[in-house]
């Protein structure tokens, strides 16, 4: 690093410092430089850019502002509005946005119902109607589809089983039939396909493992191979991808860490390395993103927080700031939570926001289990009950 002289860009006295010659073509050297303000307090950011010996003008790139606006003051969770919103979503079918979600209504029902349970309002739902609709989505193979008329898939089979667990109605299931269907999705290398069409993803490993554990049928699959496959998707940053070599992503990390937790295999996780990567998902404004240099989004409140909770590193983030970010994403008039402040709400982000607040121990909410993604009392009943 050496100083090469002084420049006067933007009326600011600054030192021009060559940081690194970046030699792509030796005949045409490019330098990366930084302009360092000479007097403190004049500029609050540094300029970064490139120039070449042939360049006479400088192209300056101003970094993103460091202080993002913090939004309005800390609000309260509008529990009643959110309950009304979730109940209304179920009935709303006429607009395009509702219709494009129709094929994954089973997921939607799980998100909505779990939200209601965390808000302690599951009683406002017609249980029998939901259970009979869920069962109408079961196929001969034992798997469930996203809605009536669609094909079965492990993503929806898990949601169906979770819904039945919420209502303590697992008794309506032919457990062996469902388990056989899931066990049949395991491949030779331990991975899981989502359905008969063979898409492989660690998300499906999680769905299969979580579902079988709830049904007390983990012995139906080769757990060791399943774990080894997940471990083969571990990256050098400590995170996990959807297949071996895939980039780490908070959603994928939740699936892999959750599956490893359920199978007692967390020793495969480098808790400090992954914990640091995950806690660095929190941006200054308080929200969490899902990958480096991405925007914060409420849904990562769940994926990042649950993973951090499972590996006991959740104290590495600022919980108050995150709670504030989630609360700022509420639609205080009509209920529901969106991905970012002032965006349109949906049931997916409403669930992840409320579940995130539960993990943050927001008062008045039921505690949620970070691995099974069901309220703790529901999980305890499954594993410690009669």
């Amino acid at each position: 690093m050496r100083e090469v002289g002084q420049a006067r860009p933007a009326k600011v006295m600054a030192l021009l410092i060559i940081i690194k010659p970046k030699i792509v073509d030796p005949a045409f050297p490019t330098y990366i430089f930084r302009l360092k303000p000479k007097e403190e307090g004049i500029v609050y950011f540094s300029f970064i850019g490139y120039f070449t010996e042939q360049t006479t003008s400088l192209f300056l790139q101003v970094p993103k502002s460091r202080n993002q606006t913090s939004g309005l003051g800390m609000g309260e969770l509008e529990i009643d509005k959110h309950v009304q919103y979730v109940l209304a979503v179920e009935k709303k079918k006429d607009d395009f946005e509702s219709l494009v979600m129709e094929h994954l209504r089973m997921n939607g029902a799980y998100w909505g119902l779990t939200t209601l349970d965390i808000l302690q309002k599951l009683g406002s739902v017609d249980q029998d109607a939901v259970v009979s609709w869920v069962m109408s989505c079961q196929h001969d193979c034992g798997g469930f589809s996203g809605n009536v008329g669609h094909d079965p898939h492990v993503l929806f089979t898990l949601s169906a089983v979770q819904i039945l667990a919420l209502f303590d109605r697992l008794d309506v299931l032919d457990i062996d039939k469902v388990s056989s269907c899931i066990a049949g999705l395991q491949n030779e290398d331990g991975s899981f396909s989502g359905d008969i069409w063979g898409e492989i993803d660690t998300r499906f490993s999680y769905c299969a493992i979580c579902c079988l554990a709830i049904l007390h049928r983990l012995d139906r699959i080769n757990v060791e191979k399943a774990v080894n496959y997940i471990v083969s998707c571990k990256n050098l940053d400590g995170g996990f991808g959807c297949t071996p070599g895939g980039e780490s992503h908070a959603g994928q990390i939740f699936c892999c860490v959750g599956a490893l937790a359920i199978t007692g295999s967390l020793h495969h996780v480098d808790k400090d390395l992954l914990g640091w990567w995950l806690c660095e998902r929190q941006v200054k404004a308080g929200g969490l993103n899902g990958r480096p240099e991405k925007l914060p989004d409420v849904c990562y409140s769940w994926w990042v927080l649950s993973s951090l909770t499972i590996i006991d590193r959740v104290h590495w983030i600022d919980k108050d700031k995150l709670a504030k970010f989630i609360l700022d994403c509420q639609d205080k008039e009509n209920g529901g939570i969106s991905d970012r402040p002032d965006d349109a709400v949906d049931v997916f982000h409403t669930y992840f926001g409320v579940a995130g607040l539960s993990l943050l121990e927001y008062p008045g909410l039921k505690a949620i289990d970070p691995a099974y993604a069901l309220p703790v009392d529901v999980v305890n009943k499954i594993f410690f009950g009669r």
Partner: protein, 708 residues
């Protein structure tokens, strides 16, 4: 739904949405008809294509098209018509991806078609170039690229070059850095041509990543790659034994004599047999520099005159079921000395002379090590070896602890010997000048960057580099003064202020380093030694206590230096976890009061300490938190690591909701505590105590009150 503004739709938008919905609904109901009736003619396929263009996420429609392809392929044999049939699928996928490039179903459909082997891979690379240009972080695109590269047998070298191009186009591309780390580790591991020596390759990578880091220090993309390079630089494959109990050269006196006053004699080598030696025998503990497996009677040779110690059973000290651990232990059986003429036994432990101990990184290299210690047996016939252990109650108040110069003087030589671990004599580190120079170069570079910009990750990286240099320089030695500890502690203090959002991450790192400092030599360790005076003569040999209280510790570490501790005071810290404490296999008395332990499950490491009798966890946070962050770090039915053995009916006599206390029962059931202090926790109430007393027959005192 992402990035859609929250505003009520204008009437015309609302009408358009309903109009669009009607169209989609009509298509959908026609689609159900063709799907359920298995109609795969052109008209039907066109209909499904239209549906997918409108909503690429309808997975069932992709399934339908696959069924259609399979059905229509049956009547085709000419490769050209097969290809054109499949090309139509690729066209549908492409237009769906232009609608939504994140559609899992569309990408999978494309892979499914490509696997049939009729399509041009070149076209796929061109398509990918477009998608990765539009969004260079699209992980579907990157996954698909790995897929087609494998299909085409594109070399890792070529793909590595692609990442170089992507990185040079824009340093802020975490996806490219990630892919680079994957490819490069393959190439390095198989020592591909042009990728040896490793040192040369890593040096070039440092050069590349510096450009990114110095261009925009606040961009995270390159920093994680730099951390990986650092790991590649300092990571040593060789497994070393770094600590043991008993230590090399120790003369250990075992006696069952309760009356002899050994208070002011050197406390370390004298142990009263029934204060810590279990019926099983004398614990023998090995501590390695990394978690290992394969420690057994064939990989570790124990030579002694003692009988019945040929087939020792070694156990990993770990709270998980991996079978791997940093520390391993076994029990040496003590002969019945009344029948033995020999009172002093030399025991030699050697390992590493044969293969079989494997590190968690899968490495078989272990440095051969041998150490010796002596057991002096002084048993008095008149004493009954089977007497129950003494049942004194510990009171941890400050007045009961004194420090004495005489005591410490006597103590220091022992400590000195304890610290002179000669077990790795002859170990030639694989650390070369290159390692040291690289680290020093990095340190200089980041010091310079920090002189210009105040960047938190640069500061954290500098701290990590300094710690790595210290480790590299002291490689193989357990307690060698680290030269940069003070500076690094300061860096972490700065970071706490600079980046308050992650302050507890830096505090944890600070705490670990503080533990390092405190335990690094005799002098600093001796400052924390106290003498517990309340103990009556029957406990006289366990009368010294390591007090690491009031140090603001939030995390503990370097326990390999404390394997011999029997009484430990960690009170008045900020601990919420005691991960690693399971290595202290001689621990009898433990004070964890006034910390931040929030769940019983956090006490899991204690389940492995069979010698523990007295535990103080008063004034913690047990019972006030709704979320248990160690729920999956302990053995339980939830993680399928332990069968559920606490059903509600069994406890019907005690009027408590047992499901609420399953953690406490799982943790305490295997322990043989005589004293438990639990006051000052929200969980503490009359019912809970009744349950404890009922379930834990060994318990004599709860919160200072005699319960039996």
């Amino acid at each position: 739904m992402h990035g859609r503004p929250r505003k009520p739709l204008k009437p015309e938008e609302s009408a358009a949405s309903i109009d669009k919905a009607n169209k989609l609904r009509a298509l959908q109901s026609q689609f159900y008809h063709i799907h359920h009736n298995k109609i795969y003619d052109k008209e039907a396929l066109d209909l499904s294509a239209k549906l997918l263009e409108m909503n690429p996420e309808i997975y069932t429609a992709w399934n339908y098209r696959k069924l259609g392809v399979e059905s229509n392929l049956q009547s085709l044999s000419d490769p050209d018509s097969i290809k054109s049939l499949l090309d139509e699928e690729l066209r549908v996928v492409e237009s769906a991806l232009r609608q939504n490039y994140k559609s899992y179903g569309a990408w999978h459909h494309r892979k499914w078609v490509l696997r049939k082997g009729y399509s041009s891979i070149e076209r796929e690379f061109r398509l990918l170039d477009q998608f990765l240009k539009a969004d260079s972080r699209n992980f579907h695109g990157w996954n698909y690229r790995r897929f087609v590269a494998a299909l085409q047998n594109v070399s890792d070298e070529e793909e590595l070059k692609f990442t170089t191009d992507k990185i040079n186009a824009n340093f802020s591309n975490y996806s490219a850095w990630h892919n680079r780390s994957v490819l490069l580790s393959h190439l390095l591991n198989r020592k591909a041509q042009g990728f040896v020596p490793r040192e040369k390759v890593l040096s070039e990578e440092y050069e590349l990543v510096h450009q990114a880091l110095f261009t925009d220090p606040d961009d995270q993309s390159g920093w994680f790659y730099h951390l990986w390079l650092l790991d590649q630089t300092v990571n040593q494959d060789t497994t070393l034994l770094i600590s043991s109990w008993p230590v090399h050269g120790l003369e250990l006196t075992l006696s069952n004599n309760r009356t002899e006053d050994v208070r002011l004699s050197s406390p370390f080598p004298a142990f009263n047999l029934d204060n810590f030696v279990h019926k099983e025998g004398v614990p023998l503990i090995l501590y390695f520099n990394q978690a290992v497996e394969g420690v057994n009677s064939s990989t570790v040779t124990v030579n002694s005159m003692l009988e019945k110690n040929e087939n020792l059973i070694w156990k990993p000290l770990s709270t998980n079921k991996s079978g791997k651990a940093h520390s391993w232990m076994t029990y040496l059986k003590i002969p019945d000395v009344r029948n033995s003429a020999l009172k002093a036994h030399t025991i030699e432990v050697s390992l590493g002379h044969s293969q079989g101990i494997i590190s968690s990184r899968g490495c078989h290299c272990i440095h051969p090590t041998c150490f010796r210690f002596t057991l002096n047996l002084q048993f008095n016939d008149s004493e009954n070896m089977e007497t129950e252990r003494s049942t004194e109650m510990i009171n941890w108040k400050d007045e009961n602890f004194v420090t004495s110069d005489a005591f410490l003087q006597d103590f220091t030589p022992t400590l000195l010997r304890f610290n002179q671990l000669t077990i790795n004599e002859g170990y030639v580190s694989t650390i070369s000048n290159w390692h040291v120079e690289t680290l020093e170069n990095e340190i200089a570079l980041f010091r310079e960057l920090l002189s210009e910009v105040n960047c938190k990750i640069a500061k954290l990286t500098l701290a990590r580099l300094l710690m790595s240099l210290d480790i590299v320089m002291s490689s193989g030695a357990i307690c060698k003064q680290r030269t940069h500890t003070k500076e690094v502690l300061e860096l972490f203090n700065d970071l706490v202020k600079m980046d308050p959002v992650h302050s507890r991450y830096y505090k944890d790192q600070h705490s670990l380093l503080l533990m390092e400092q405190v335990t690094s030599d005799e002098e600093s360790l001796a400052k924390h030694f106290w003498y517990y005076k309340e103990l009556t003569s029957s406990l006289s040999q366990t009368n010294f206590c390591l007090r690491l209280n009031k140090l603001s510790l939030s995390r503990i570490g370097f326990l390999e230096r404390l394997l011999w501790i029997q009484m430990l005071d960690l009170s008045h810290n900020e601990l919420h976890s005691i991960e690693g404490l399971e290595s202290l296999q001689l621990l009898i008395y433990l004070n964890l009061s006034h910390n931040r332990i929030s769940c019983f499950t956090a006490l899991e490491p204690l389940r492995l300490i069979k010698s523990l009798r007295s535990l103080d966890i008063s004034y913690n946070e047990i019972g006030i938190h709704s979320i248990d962050t160690t729920r999956y770090l302990c053995s339980s039915p939830l993680s399928h690591t332990r069968a559920s053995d606490c059903h509600v009916e069994e406890h019907a006599t005690v009027n408590v909701e047992v499901a609420n206390y399953w953690e406490a029962l799982l943790i305490f059931k295997d322990m043989r505590l005589t004293q438990l202090d639990i006051a000052g926790n929200a969980v503490d109430n009359e019912n809970f105590r009744m349950l404890l007393v009922k379930e834990l027959p060994s318990l004599l005192w709860v919160d200072g009150a005699r319960v039996k």
